[in-house]
Symmetry: C2
Subunit: 228 residues, 2 copies
Protein backbone atom coordinates (compact mmCIF):
# COMPACT_ATOMS: atom_id res chain seq x y z
CA UNK A 1 0.00 0.00 0.00
CA UNK A 2 1.17 3.49 -0.78
CA UNK A 3 0.14 5.01 2.48
CA UNK A 4 -0.30 3.86 6.02
CA UNK A 5 -4.01 3.49 6.72
CA UNK A 6 -5.60 3.68 10.13
CA UNK A 7 -7.23 0.51 11.37
CA UNK A 8 -10.87 -0.10 10.51
CA UNK A 9 -13.02 1.43 13.24
CA UNK A 10 -14.43 -1.37 15.37
CA UNK A 11 -18.22 -1.52 15.52
CA UNK A 12 -20.58 -3.55 17.66
CA UNK A 13 -20.79 -6.24 14.99
CA UNK A 14 -17.20 -6.27 13.79
CA UNK A 15 -15.74 -6.63 17.29
CA UNK A 16 -14.59 -10.26 17.51
CA UNK A 17 -16.18 -11.66 20.65
CA UNK A 18 -15.32 -15.32 20.56
CA UNK A 19 -11.54 -15.60 20.70
CA UNK A 20 -11.02 -11.81 20.62
CA UNK A 21 -7.26 -12.45 20.35
CA UNK A 22 -7.93 -13.59 16.77
CA UNK A 23 -9.53 -10.31 15.74
CA UNK A 24 -7.47 -8.19 13.35
CA UNK A 25 -8.58 -4.75 12.24
CA UNK A 26 -5.87 -3.41 9.97
CA UNK A 27 -6.45 -2.81 6.26
CA UNK A 28 -3.43 -4.81 5.12
CA UNK A 29 -4.65 -8.10 6.63
CA UNK A 30 -8.17 -7.74 5.25
CA UNK A 31 -6.88 -6.69 1.83
CA UNK A 32 -4.53 -9.70 1.63
CA UNK A 33 -7.29 -12.18 2.53
CA UNK A 34 -9.78 -10.62 0.10
CA UNK A 35 -7.14 -10.62 -2.64
CA UNK A 36 -6.17 -14.26 -2.11
CA UNK A 37 -9.68 -15.73 -1.83
CA UNK A 38 -11.10 -16.95 -5.14
CA UNK A 39 -14.70 -16.42 -4.10
CA UNK A 40 -16.82 -15.01 -1.31
CA UNK A 41 -20.18 -15.65 0.32
CA UNK A 42 -22.63 -12.78 -0.06
CA UNK A 43 -25.41 -12.47 2.51
CA UNK A 44 -28.49 -10.30 2.51
CA UNK A 45 -31.98 -10.12 3.95
CA UNK A 46 -34.80 -10.88 1.54
CA UNK A 47 -38.13 -9.00 1.46
CA UNK A 48 -39.62 -11.59 3.85
CA UNK A 49 -36.92 -10.86 6.41
CA UNK A 50 -35.12 -14.15 5.81
CA UNK A 51 -31.36 -14.54 5.59
CA UNK A 52 -29.95 -15.46 2.18
CA UNK A 53 -26.44 -16.48 1.11
CA UNK A 54 -24.94 -17.05 -2.30
CA UNK A 55 -21.36 -17.84 -3.27
CA UNK A 56 -20.03 -15.42 -5.86
CA UNK A 57 -16.82 -13.82 -7.06
CA UNK A 58 -15.39 -10.57 -5.86
CA UNK A 59 -12.45 -8.29 -6.38
CA UNK A 60 -10.99 -5.53 -4.27
CA UNK A 61 -10.01 -2.25 -5.94
CA UNK A 62 -8.50 0.11 -3.42
CA UNK A 63 -10.96 0.38 -0.59
CA UNK A 64 -13.95 -0.88 -2.61
CA UNK A 65 -15.15 -4.46 -2.88
CA UNK A 66 -16.86 -5.39 -6.16
CA UNK A 67 -19.04 -8.49 -6.20
CA UNK A 68 -20.59 -10.20 -9.17
CA UNK A 69 -24.32 -9.77 -8.71
CA UNK A 70 -25.33 -13.19 -9.90
CA UNK A 71 -28.75 -14.35 -8.79
CA UNK A 72 -28.57 -12.13 -5.71
CA UNK A 73 -28.90 -8.92 -7.65
CA UNK A 74 -32.62 -8.95 -8.30
CA UNK A 75 -33.40 -9.89 -4.73
CA UNK A 76 -30.90 -7.39 -3.42
CA UNK A 77 -32.55 -4.56 -5.28
CA UNK A 78 -35.77 -5.36 -3.46
CA UNK A 79 -34.03 -5.96 -0.15
CA UNK A 80 -35.98 -4.28 2.58
CA UNK A 81 -32.88 -2.87 4.22
CA UNK A 82 -31.86 -0.87 1.15
CA UNK A 83 -29.15 -3.14 -0.14
CA UNK A 84 -27.47 -3.91 3.17
CA UNK A 85 -25.16 -6.88 2.72
CA UNK A 86 -22.60 -8.96 4.53
CA UNK A 87 -19.69 -10.48 2.64
CA UNK A 88 -17.61 -13.24 4.19
CA UNK A 89 -14.40 -14.73 2.83
CA UNK A 90 -12.72 -17.72 4.48
CA UNK A 91 -9.34 -19.28 3.75
CA UNK A 92 -8.71 -22.64 5.41
CA UNK A 93 -5.07 -23.16 6.33
CA UNK A 94 -5.20 -26.29 8.45
CA UNK A 95 -6.97 -28.58 10.88
CA UNK A 96 -5.88 -28.11 14.49
CA UNK A 97 -6.01 -31.32 16.49
CA UNK A 98 -5.75 -30.84 20.25
CA UNK A 99 -5.64 -33.68 22.77
CA UNK A 100 -9.12 -32.61 23.87
CA UNK A 101 -12.04 -32.48 21.46
CA UNK A 102 -13.01 -29.17 23.05
CA UNK A 103 -9.79 -27.47 21.94
CA UNK A 104 -9.92 -28.69 18.36
CA UNK A 105 -9.90 -25.81 15.94
CA UNK A 106 -8.92 -24.74 12.45
CA UNK A 107 -6.22 -22.44 11.26
CA UNK A 108 -7.91 -19.97 8.97
CA UNK A 109 -8.07 -16.40 7.81
CA UNK A 110 -11.47 -14.83 7.36
CA UNK A 111 -12.87 -11.41 6.64
CA UNK A 112 -16.37 -10.09 7.21
CA UNK A 113 -17.54 -6.93 5.46
CA UNK A 114 -20.76 -5.07 6.30
CA UNK A 115 -22.14 -2.35 4.11
CA UNK A 116 -24.73 -1.13 1.68
CA UNK A 117 -24.25 -2.45 -1.84
CA UNK A 118 -24.53 0.01 -4.68
CA UNK A 119 -25.15 -1.26 -8.19
CA UNK A 120 -22.37 -0.11 -10.50
CA UNK A 121 -23.96 1.78 -13.40
CA UNK A 122 -21.22 4.15 -14.56
CA UNK A 123 -19.92 2.59 -17.80
CA UNK A 124 -16.24 3.21 -17.05
CA UNK A 125 -16.44 1.95 -13.49
CA UNK A 126 -18.40 -1.10 -14.64
CA UNK A 127 -15.87 -1.89 -17.34
CA UNK A 128 -12.95 -1.56 -14.94
CA UNK A 129 -14.70 -3.69 -12.30
CA UNK A 130 -15.47 -6.37 -14.91
CA UNK A 131 -11.84 -6.43 -16.01
CA UNK A 132 -10.68 -6.59 -12.39
CA UNK A 133 -13.05 -9.50 -11.64
CA UNK A 134 -11.59 -11.48 -14.55
CA UNK A 135 -8.02 -10.76 -13.46
CA UNK A 136 -8.80 -11.50 -9.83
CA UNK A 137 -9.60 -15.09 -10.73
CA UNK A 138 -6.83 -15.52 -13.30
CA UNK A 139 -4.20 -12.81 -13.32
CA UNK A 140 -3.54 -11.60 -16.86
CA UNK A 141 -6.62 -13.21 -18.35
CA UNK A 142 -8.31 -9.93 -19.35
CA UNK A 143 -5.51 -9.19 -21.84
CA UNK A 144 -6.29 -12.46 -23.61
CA UNK A 145 -10.01 -13.25 -23.37
CA UNK A 146 -12.57 -11.54 -25.55
CA UNK A 147 -13.85 -8.82 -23.27
CA UNK A 148 -17.60 -8.18 -22.98
CA UNK A 149 -19.55 -6.28 -25.59
CA UNK A 150 -22.32 -3.88 -24.60
CA UNK A 151 -25.01 -6.58 -24.65
CA UNK A 152 -22.99 -8.78 -22.31
CA UNK A 153 -22.16 -5.88 -19.99
CA UNK A 154 -25.86 -5.03 -19.82
CA UNK A 155 -26.58 -8.59 -18.69
CA UNK A 156 -23.99 -8.39 -15.93
CA UNK A 157 -24.70 -6.94 -12.52
CA UNK A 158 -21.80 -5.73 -10.42
CA UNK A 159 -22.22 -4.33 -6.96
CA UNK A 160 -19.81 -2.12 -5.04
CA UNK A 161 -19.42 -2.20 -1.27
CA UNK A 162 -17.19 0.30 0.54
CA UNK A 163 -14.60 -1.36 2.78
CA UNK A 164 -15.47 0.63 5.88
CA UNK A 165 -16.97 -1.82 8.36
CA UNK A 166 -14.57 -4.71 8.16
CA UNK A 167 -12.89 -7.18 10.46
CA UNK A 168 -10.55 -10.09 9.95
CA UNK A 169 -10.12 -13.15 12.09
CA UNK A 170 -6.93 -15.15 11.97
CA UNK A 171 -5.85 -18.31 13.76
CA UNK A 172 -2.35 -19.71 13.29
CA UNK A 173 -0.07 -22.09 15.13
CA UNK A 174 -0.33 -25.29 17.14
CA UNK A 175 -3.25 -26.47 19.29
CA UNK A 176 -3.66 -24.96 22.73
CA UNK A 177 -4.48 -27.72 25.15
CA UNK A 178 -5.29 -27.36 28.81
CA UNK A 179 -2.32 -27.93 31.09
CA UNK A 180 -3.88 -31.13 32.43
CA UNK A 181 -4.14 -32.63 28.93
CA UNK A 182 -0.58 -32.05 27.68
CA UNK A 183 0.70 -35.41 28.91
CA UNK A 184 -2.11 -37.47 27.38
CA UNK A 185 -0.96 -40.03 24.85
CA UNK A 186 -3.04 -38.42 22.12
CA UNK A 187 -1.46 -37.02 18.98
CA UNK A 188 -1.76 -33.24 18.73
CA UNK A 189 -0.71 -30.93 15.95
CA UNK A 190 -1.76 -29.28 12.73
CA UNK A 191 -2.68 -30.84 9.42
CA UNK A 192 -2.06 -28.03 6.94
CA UNK A 193 -4.39 -27.65 3.97
CA UNK A 194 -3.72 -25.94 0.70
CA UNK A 195 -5.89 -25.46 -2.35
CA UNK A 196 -3.82 -26.24 -5.41
CA UNK A 197 -4.43 -26.18 -9.15
CA UNK A 198 -4.22 -29.45 -11.03
CA UNK A 199 -3.34 -29.95 -14.65
CA UNK A 200 -5.23 -27.71 -17.07
CA UNK A 201 -7.84 -29.47 -19.22
CA UNK A 202 -8.18 -27.85 -22.67
CA UNK A 203 -11.71 -27.46 -23.97
CA UNK A 204 -12.63 -30.29 -26.38
CA UNK A 205 -13.39 -27.72 -29.09
CA UNK A 206 -10.16 -25.74 -28.63
CA UNK A 207 -8.21 -24.81 -31.76
CA UNK A 208 -5.24 -27.16 -32.07
CA UNK A 209 -2.73 -24.31 -32.39
CA UNK A 210 -3.59 -22.62 -29.06
CA UNK A 211 -1.15 -23.40 -26.25
CA UNK A 212 -1.86 -23.28 -22.55
CA UNK A 213 -0.89 -19.76 -21.48
CA UNK A 214 1.73 -19.22 -18.77
CA UNK A 215 -0.85 -17.67 -16.41
CA UNK A 216 -2.68 -21.02 -16.42
CA UNK A 217 0.36 -23.34 -16.55
CA UNK A 218 2.00 -21.54 -13.64
CA UNK A 219 -1.12 -20.41 -11.85
CA UNK A 220 -0.54 -18.47 -8.65
CA UNK A 221 -2.65 -16.61 -6.13
CA UNK A 222 -1.47 -13.31 -4.67
CA UNK A 223 0.27 -13.76 -1.34
CA UNK A 224 2.07 -16.87 -2.57
CA UNK A 225 -0.88 -19.07 -1.68
CA UNK A 226 -2.35 -21.31 -4.32
CA UNK A 227 -6.00 -20.47 -3.73
CA UNK A 228 -8.78 -20.03 -1.28
Amino acid sequence: MDEELDDFAMTERTRVRRHPERGVYDHETAYAILDEALYCHLGWVDPNGSPRIVPTIHVRAGNTLYVHGSNASRTLRSSREGGEVCVCVTLLDGLVLARSAFNHSMNYRSVVVYGVAREVTDPNEKWEAQRALVDHVVRGRSADARMPDQRELDQTTIMAIPLDEVSSKVRTGPPKDDEDDIDLGVWAGVLPFVQVPGEAIPSPDLRADVDIPAYVRRYERPGGGAGS
Copy 2:
Protein backbone atom coordinates in the same frame (compact mmCIF):
# COMPACT_ATOMS: atom_id res chain seq x y z
CA MET B 1 -28.74 -44.30 1.94
CA ASP B 2 -31.05 -47.02 3.15
CA GLU B 3 -34.13 -45.84 1.37
CA GLU B 4 -34.93 -43.87 -1.72
CA LEU B 5 -35.94 -40.37 -0.68
CA ASP B 6 -38.13 -38.06 -2.69
CA ASP B 7 -36.47 -34.90 -3.93
CA PHE B 8 -36.54 -31.84 -1.70
CA ALA B 9 -39.69 -29.87 -2.43
CA MET B 10 -38.73 -26.77 -4.38
CA THR B 11 -39.68 -23.45 -2.76
CA GLU B 12 -39.61 -19.91 -4.05
CA ARG B 13 -36.14 -19.40 -2.59
CA THR B 14 -34.58 -22.78 -3.34
CA ARG B 15 -35.55 -22.73 -7.01
CA VAL B 16 -32.31 -22.03 -8.89
CA ARG B 17 -33.06 -19.06 -11.14
CA ARG B 18 -29.69 -18.21 -12.62
CA HIS B 19 -28.54 -21.19 -14.65
CA PRO B 20 -31.54 -23.34 -13.64
CA GLU B 21 -29.88 -26.29 -15.41
CA ARG B 22 -27.40 -26.35 -12.51
CA GLY B 23 -30.09 -26.80 -9.87
CA VAL B 24 -30.18 -30.21 -8.21
CA TYR B 25 -32.84 -31.16 -5.69
CA ASP B 26 -32.18 -34.75 -4.67
CA HIS B 27 -31.05 -35.69 -1.17
CA GLU B 28 -28.04 -37.69 -2.29
CA THR B 29 -26.32 -34.76 -4.00
CA ALA B 30 -26.91 -32.37 -1.09
CA TYR B 31 -25.80 -34.99 1.44
CA ALA B 32 -22.57 -35.71 -0.45
CA ILE B 33 -21.65 -32.01 -0.68
CA LEU B 34 -22.46 -31.36 3.00
CA ASP B 35 -20.45 -34.45 4.00
CA GLU B 36 -17.40 -33.49 1.96
CA ALA B 37 -17.24 -29.81 2.93
CA LEU B 38 -15.03 -29.10 5.94
CA TYR B 39 -16.91 -25.99 6.96
CA CYS B 40 -19.97 -23.96 6.12
CA HIS B 41 -21.11 -20.36 6.17
CA LEU B 42 -23.98 -19.70 8.56
CA GLY B 43 -26.18 -16.67 7.87
CA TRP B 44 -28.83 -15.06 10.02
CA VAL B 45 -30.59 -11.74 10.55
CA ASP B 46 -29.54 -9.81 13.62
CA PRO B 47 -31.96 -7.87 15.87
CA ASN B 48 -31.32 -4.72 13.80
CA GLY B 49 -32.43 -6.51 10.66
CA SER B 50 -28.93 -6.75 9.24
CA PRO B 51 -27.49 -9.81 7.51
CA ARG B 52 -24.72 -11.66 9.36
CA ILE B 53 -22.45 -14.49 8.24
CA VAL B 54 -19.95 -16.55 10.16
CA PRO B 55 -17.87 -19.52 9.00
CA THR B 56 -18.33 -22.53 11.26
CA ILE B 57 -18.24 -26.29 11.23
CA HIS B 58 -21.17 -28.57 10.58
CA VAL B 59 -22.05 -32.22 10.33
CA ARG B 60 -24.98 -33.99 8.78
CA ALA B 61 -26.68 -36.80 10.71
CA GLY B 62 -29.47 -38.31 8.68
CA ASN B 63 -31.68 -35.47 7.61
CA THR B 64 -30.46 -33.05 10.29
CA LEU B 65 -27.65 -30.54 9.95
CA TYR B 66 -25.77 -29.72 13.15
CA VAL B 67 -23.73 -26.54 13.25
CA HIS B 68 -21.29 -25.39 15.88
CA GLY B 69 -22.85 -22.30 17.38
CA SER B 70 -19.69 -20.33 17.80
CA ASN B 71 -20.15 -16.61 18.17
CA ALA B 72 -23.41 -16.75 16.25
CA SER B 73 -25.27 -18.52 19.01
CA ARG B 74 -25.95 -15.57 21.29
CA THR B 75 -27.07 -13.40 18.42
CA LEU B 76 -29.13 -16.21 16.95
CA ARG B 77 -31.04 -16.64 20.17
CA SER B 78 -32.09 -13.01 19.94
CA SER B 79 -32.68 -13.19 16.20
CA ARG B 80 -35.91 -11.42 15.41
CA GLU B 81 -37.06 -14.14 13.03
CA GLY B 82 -36.99 -16.86 15.69
CA GLY B 83 -33.74 -18.51 14.76
CA GLU B 84 -34.23 -18.53 11.01
CA VAL B 85 -30.92 -19.31 9.35
CA CYS B 86 -29.35 -19.97 5.99
CA VAL B 87 -26.41 -22.33 5.67
CA CYS B 88 -24.27 -22.37 2.55
CA VAL B 89 -21.53 -24.81 1.67
CA THR B 90 -19.37 -24.38 -1.43
CA LEU B 91 -16.82 -26.76 -2.93
CA LEU B 92 -14.63 -25.26 -5.64
CA ASP B 93 -13.65 -27.79 -8.30
CA GLY B 94 -12.07 -25.65 -10.96
CA LEU B 95 -11.77 -22.38 -12.85
CA VAL B 96 -13.58 -22.36 -16.18
CA LEU B 97 -11.87 -20.20 -18.78
CA ALA B 98 -13.98 -19.46 -21.83
CA ARG B 99 -12.77 -17.51 -24.85
CA SER B 100 -15.10 -14.71 -23.78
CA ALA B 101 -14.83 -13.07 -20.37
CA PHE B 102 -18.63 -13.21 -20.16
CA ASN B 103 -18.67 -17.01 -20.25
CA HIS B 104 -15.99 -17.49 -17.63
CA SER B 105 -17.26 -19.55 -14.72
CA MET B 106 -16.24 -21.94 -12.01
CA ASN B 107 -16.89 -25.62 -11.59
CA TYR B 108 -18.33 -26.01 -8.13
CA ARG B 109 -20.82 -27.83 -5.98
CA SER B 110 -22.83 -25.80 -3.49
CA VAL B 111 -25.73 -26.38 -1.13
CA VAL B 112 -28.04 -23.84 0.46
CA VAL B 113 -30.17 -24.81 3.46
CA TYR B 114 -32.97 -22.67 4.87
CA GLY B 115 -34.58 -23.40 8.19
CA VAL B 116 -35.14 -22.53 11.80
CA ALA B 117 -32.24 -23.46 14.04
CA ARG B 118 -33.03 -25.20 17.29
CA GLU B 119 -30.45 -25.22 20.08
CA VAL B 120 -29.57 -28.79 21.01
CA THR B 121 -30.20 -29.21 24.73
CA ASP B 122 -30.92 -32.92 25.15
CA PRO B 123 -27.71 -34.34 26.70
CA ASN B 124 -27.64 -37.47 24.53
CA GLU B 125 -28.31 -35.63 21.30
CA LYS B 126 -25.74 -33.00 22.20
CA TRP B 127 -23.12 -35.63 22.98
CA GLU B 128 -23.76 -37.46 19.73
CA ALA B 129 -23.69 -34.22 17.74
CA GLN B 130 -20.43 -33.20 19.39
CA ARG B 131 -18.90 -36.57 18.56
CA ALA B 132 -20.15 -36.35 14.99
CA LEU B 133 -18.71 -32.83 14.56
CA VAL B 134 -15.27 -34.09 15.64
CA ASP B 135 -15.45 -37.06 13.28
CA HIS B 136 -16.76 -34.93 10.42
CA VAL B 137 -13.53 -32.96 10.41
CA VAL B 138 -11.20 -35.91 11.08
CA ARG B 139 -12.78 -39.33 10.70
CA GLY B 140 -11.95 -41.52 13.68
CA ARG B 141 -10.70 -38.69 15.86
CA SER B 142 -13.42 -39.04 18.52
CA ALA B 143 -12.12 -42.49 19.47
CA ASP B 144 -8.74 -40.95 20.25
CA ALA B 145 -9.17 -37.42 21.57
CA ARG B 146 -10.26 -36.69 25.12
CA MET B 147 -13.96 -36.11 24.71
CA PRO B 148 -15.62 -33.16 26.46
CA ASP B 149 -16.51 -33.17 30.15
CA GLN B 150 -19.72 -31.59 31.39
CA ARG B 151 -18.14 -28.16 31.87
CA GLU B 152 -16.87 -28.15 28.29
CA LEU B 153 -20.18 -29.40 26.91
CA ASP B 154 -21.95 -26.62 28.78
CA GLN B 155 -19.70 -24.08 27.06
CA THR B 156 -20.49 -25.48 23.63
CA THR B 157 -23.52 -24.44 21.62
CA ILE B 158 -24.75 -26.76 18.91
CA MET B 159 -27.70 -25.96 16.70
CA ALA B 160 -29.81 -28.35 14.67
CA ILE B 161 -31.44 -27.45 11.37
CA PRO B 162 -33.80 -29.86 9.62
CA LEU B 163 -32.79 -30.58 6.03
CA ASP B 164 -36.17 -29.76 4.51
CA GLU B 165 -35.68 -26.64 2.42
CA VAL B 166 -32.51 -27.45 0.52
CA SER B 167 -31.09 -27.02 -2.94
CA SER B 168 -27.79 -27.87 -4.56
CA LYS B 169 -26.12 -26.20 -7.49
CA VAL B 170 -23.53 -28.03 -9.53
CA ARG B 171 -21.46 -26.98 -12.51
CA THR B 172 -19.12 -29.42 -14.22
CA GLY B 173 -17.39 -29.71 -17.57
CA PRO B 174 -15.74 -27.44 -20.10
CA PRO B 175 -16.54 -23.79 -20.86
CA LYS B 176 -19.54 -23.02 -23.02
CA ASP B 177 -18.59 -20.36 -25.50
CA ASP B 178 -20.84 -18.68 -28.01
CA GLU B 179 -20.64 -20.21 -31.48
CA ASP B 180 -19.00 -17.06 -32.84
CA ASP B 181 -16.15 -17.27 -30.33
CA ILE B 182 -15.11 -20.90 -30.80
CA ASP B 183 -12.53 -20.10 -33.46
CA LEU B 184 -10.83 -17.31 -31.53
CA GLY B 185 -7.17 -17.97 -30.80
CA VAL B 186 -7.78 -17.77 -27.06
CA TRP B 187 -7.07 -20.73 -24.79
CA ALA B 188 -10.20 -22.21 -23.24
CA GLY B 189 -10.53 -24.99 -20.72
CA VAL B 190 -10.69 -25.85 -17.07
CA LEU B 191 -8.04 -25.44 -14.40
CA PRO B 192 -9.07 -27.99 -11.75
CA PHE B 193 -8.60 -27.13 -8.10
CA VAL B 194 -8.30 -29.48 -5.20
CA GLN B 195 -7.82 -28.84 -1.50
CA VAL B 196 -5.17 -31.19 -0.22
CA PRO B 197 -3.60 -31.88 3.16
CA GLY B 198 0.11 -31.22 3.57
CA GLU B 199 2.49 -32.88 5.97
CA ALA B 200 1.25 -33.04 9.55
CA ILE B 201 3.05 -30.75 12.02
CA PRO B 202 3.24 -32.26 15.53
CA SER B 203 2.58 -29.87 18.39
CA PRO B 204 5.87 -28.59 19.92
CA ASP B 205 4.80 -29.94 23.32
CA LEU B 206 3.76 -33.39 22.03
CA ARG B 207 4.98 -36.42 23.95
CA ALA B 208 7.89 -37.97 22.06
CA ASP B 209 6.29 -41.44 22.03
CA VAL B 210 3.08 -40.42 20.24
CA ASP B 211 3.06 -41.25 16.53
CA ILE B 212 1.00 -39.55 13.86
CA PRO B 213 -2.19 -41.58 13.64
CA ALA B 214 -3.26 -43.16 10.34
CA TYR B 215 -6.34 -40.94 10.12
CA VAL B 216 -4.01 -37.93 9.93
CA ARG B 217 -1.22 -39.51 7.85
CA ARG B 218 -3.67 -40.78 5.26
CA TYR B 219 -6.28 -38.07 5.63
CA GLU B 220 -9.29 -38.41 3.34
CA ARG B 221 -12.59 -36.66 2.85
CA PRO B 222 -15.75 -38.66 2.13
CA GLY B 223 -16.50 -38.84 -1.55
CA GLY B 224 -12.87 -39.35 -2.45
CA GLY B 225 -12.18 -35.62 -2.43
CA ALA B 226 -9.41 -34.27 -0.28
CA GLY B 227 -11.34 -31.41 1.24
CA SER B 228 -13.62 -28.49 0.69
